[in-house]
Amino acid sequence: MSIATERTEGATEDLLALAERVAGWADAGEEVEVYVARGTETEVRAYDGEVESLTSATSAGIGIRVVVDHRLGFAWAGSLDESVLGETLAEARDNARFATADEHVQLAVPDGREAVPVDLWDEGLAAIPTARKVELALALEALARGADPRIRQVDAADYGDVASESALVSTTGIRSSSRKTSGYLSVGVIAGEGESSQTGGGYSVGRGFDGLDPARACDDAVTRAVRLLGATKGPSGRSTIVFDRRMATTLLSIVSSALSGEAVAKGRSFFAGRIGEQVGHPGLTLVDDPTDHRAYGAAAYDAEGLACRRNVLIDSGVLQGFLYDTVSGSRAGVASTGSAVRGGFAGTPGPGCRALTLAPGPEGYDEDGVLSAVGEGLFVQSMTGVHSGVNPISGDFSVGAEGLMIRDGKLAEPVREITVASTLQRMLLSLVAVGADVEWLPSIAAGQTLAIGDMQISGA
């Protein structure tokens, strides 16, 4: 058993014990991995000065992977009741019988890498009474409603928090646990002036209750809605696009799917076979580092129980490598990069990013700095149709956009009902500026203002 995976934290001990007990039911000749998770959540939605809904809930579940003769079976249950544990293992075992034998199919084994501890648990959250959470949601709603005379509706003002714990134990020597809390405020407003209505959303996130900032969430939402009032369909043409920090996280998340070792191995990435090649502008350096505790996706262990680590993916525009879990790594003839992620107990692990950032440009620009460097172009503050108009396999990129024109290095008139298009391959090469204004947004990627040249705007 590895030293790295020995570290545990009090409250999850019972989950570890449970996972260990179930893993102990493995038959001879089979590998079993047991993932158990438990969580509590509170959500308050305020509307028009009242509580529209208050949700409080607890949930728990188990996901079991069984590997027999290089065949994988999986089963899960939304409960940790004694009666379902054995059933779930039996079902995973039965499923394994049907899979194709594949020499690369295996569970993770400890790799000796020590985990970097990251503290993601806010001890104080559990003690916050529901009444204070309700007050905060109501305060957020009132703040947004009164923020500007042009705000004619606050259609959602939410407070939410989640505390989750998980444990992972396998017959191959993995034993890890983690726990994490998070809190958020989010608000959506509609601004109106004459015939024009525009919307904006804002949020504030943290590890718990303290530090959530209603003013920040509100200002963000109101600014976004109000500055779009009077927007018209912008003109068509080629332009440099400045993506605000929130949009930049979306762009990086899209690019990340092409950096998955699984996508590469299966011929679904335009990066396949290009390691060592110049795939981006020399100013583009992209790193995934979940050990950075400031990152929203920070984690000590990956979803297979290996230590998370810093992985450099693109350095000065040159493709360095991909992210792997155990199976995709084996397929590529390399070790896991500690990059397994999973969507809770009902999902199986696969490689993915947790904490992507771009190295800031040497100029140290903030948003204003990027705008002024760009001079003329389009500033995009929201995108739609990312799931329907971006194809991370072919690289085709076409999204609906709203924002403001950039004139003389400053934000000018608002535009809406336009699309911006290019290909992901071309966008990486057409980088104009990367801001130093790194903000850890609730995403697998950091936010930092990005300027990309030579994109096509379709409008009037």
Binding site: Y47, D48, E50, V51, E52, S53, L54, T55, S56, A57, T58, S59, A60, L72, G73, F74, A75, W76, A77, G78, S79, N95, F98, A99, T100, D102, V105, A131, V134, R152, Q153, D155, I190, S197, Q198, T199, K233, S236, G237, K266, G267, F270, T384, G385, H387, S388, G389, N391, I393, S394, S398, V399, G400, E417, T419, V420, A421, Q456, S458, A460
Partner: protein, 464 residues
């Protein structure tokens, strides 16, 4: 799932501190899926979950709690948590809970073949057949992924109005996605079949045909040119073009958006909001379509609702809570992803009734434009009406003929404006399944229309 006397006691507990309405929604769901990728059956997965969501409505406030513990003790605890809002203010009068009437037994719809160990091997055979058919479609097909998924969901709903209802819903889907590779790069094709049926879906659907269609899209796009940029007439082929209506107006007609004045269609009942060729229906009772059910997740029978008739807005879509505010009854559109979620107003199967034009003629009478054979998805901002929808298979129309394939792109428009630009609707109606996401919850829906033409839409390609 839960005995009636227990339900009555839980509802009484939920209203013990006051409140206008209480409801227990219990669900027992099993899922199974299998995935073939890269020529191998990589993963079979089975899942099971059951639990109950309890809500208590007091004035304008809803308290909600859910639990995976279906014992009386677990349910009572959730009822107490859900009633905390009533306790902290609002109602003070303990409300009466009537006796439950009705039946929690699901309606009889004949035998449904549940996924069992027997069907696992049948599913694998289907996956392998799809893989072979796709790969046989052309040497350039470089990768194939085929997926099978089925779910069986028993629901039980009891509320303080005395309603007791139950249903059993089986859904099965099969999808194939292909990658084609050439000097021009990689292109993708995707096709799915999904119905509110058990394994008998495959009596109706040929997996080979799905695979060949997906492969043909990927192959055709290898020689695709960049989509145009700017406004052009667009002809949408029957089927997936229904996404246009789902986004351009369907979401905007959901009463939760209407009552918050967060929709461009608020206050417009009785007004002309679309071309007179448009009669739009949302209907949860259609055959075995993907958005079909017997009762919604509030126990209300599915029904047919006409939303727009000859271009005139006739009504919105309603769930229990929003209907109650307006003193009317739900239209059977209260749905939720699972027992862990509050119900919301959701679409079921939303479609444009067929018109009288010949589909081929519509194309022939379009001198220049874009023919969209398949849409992949879309998104709308209901407050502004601006929406996008993405093409996954489109062609240029030149001199009234479908010519060169185009690379994927989003189209963008404003709902109320676009609906007025429909100038031809064909007779070749068909439906397509989709997954609709709203406020973090996903539910299965159907979309449909016949071939139709829009006089102008902005196409977000890269070709100037």
């Amino acid at each position: 799932m839960i005995d009636t006397p227990v339900l009555e006691r839980v509802l009484a507990e939920a209203l013990r501190n006051g409140g206008d309405f209480a409801e227990v929604f219990a669900e027992d769901r099993s899922n199974s899926s299998a995935m073939l990728d890269d020529g191998r059956v990589e993963e079979l997965s089975s899942g099971r979950e059951r639990g109950a969501g309890i809500r208590v409505v007091t004035g304008e406030t809803t308290g909600f709690a859910h639990t995976a513990d279906l014992s009386e003790r677990g349910l009572l605890r959730a009822a107490e948590a859900a009633s905390a809002v009533a306790r902290s203010g609002g109602g003070s009068r303990p409300a009466d809970v009537g006796h439950l009437s009705g039946s929690a037994a699901p309606g009889d719809r004949g035998d449904r073949r549940a996924p069992t160990t027997g069907t696992k091997s049948e599913a694998l055979e289907l996956l392998q057949r799809a893989d072979e058919a796709a790969r046989a479609s052309g040497d350039a097909i470089s990768q194939v992924q085929a997926g099978f998924g089925s779910s069986r969901r028993r629901v039980l709903i009891a509320n303080s109005d005395g309603l007791l209802a139950g249903d059993e819903q089986s859904r099965t889907r099969f999808s194939v996605s292909c990658v084609a590779l050439a000097d021009t790069g990689m292109q993708t094709g995707y096709q799915t079949a999904a119905r509110t049926l058990g394994f008998e879906l495959f009596d109706e659907v040929s997996v080979e045909e799905l695979a060949r269609t997906a492969a043909a899209q990927a192959l055709a796009k290898l020689s695709a040119r960049p989509a145009p940029s700017g406004e052009l007439p667009v002809v949408l082929a029957g089927g997936s073009g229904g996404i246009l209506f789902h986004e351009a107006c369907g979401h905007g007609l959901e009463a939760d958006h209407i009552l918050k004045d967060a929709s461009v269609y608020a206050g417009k009942v009785g007004q002309l909001v679309a071309s007179p060729l448009v009669t739009l229906v949302d209907d949860g009772t259609v055959g075995s379509e993907w958005g079909t059910f017997q009762i919604d997740d509030e126990g209300r029978p599915a029904q047919r609702n006409v939303l727009i008739e000859d271009g005139v807005l006739t009504d919105y879509l309603w769930d229990y809570l929003r209907a109650r505010k307006e003193g009317r009854v739900s239209s059977g559109n209260g749905r939720r992803q699972s027992y862990r979620d509050l119900p919301m107003v959701r679409m079921t199967n939303t479609f444009l009734l067929p018109g009288e034009d010949d589909a081929d003629e519509i194309v022939a009478q379009t001198p220049r434009g874009v023919y969209v054979a398949k849409l992949g998805g879309g998104q709308v901002n209901t407050a502004t009406g601006d929406f996008v929808f993405g093409t996954t298979m489109a062609y240029l129309i030149e001199d009234g003929k479908i010519t060169e394939p185009l690379r994927d792109a989003n189209l963008i428009g404003n709902g109320p404006e676009i609906l007025k630009r429909i100038d031809a609707v064909g007779t070749d109606f068909s439906m397509t399944p989709g997954t609709c996401g709203k406020d973090g919850q996903s539910v299965p829906v159907g979309c449909g229309q016949a071939t139709m033409r829009l006089t102008g839409v902005t196409i977000g390609g890269t070709a100037e």
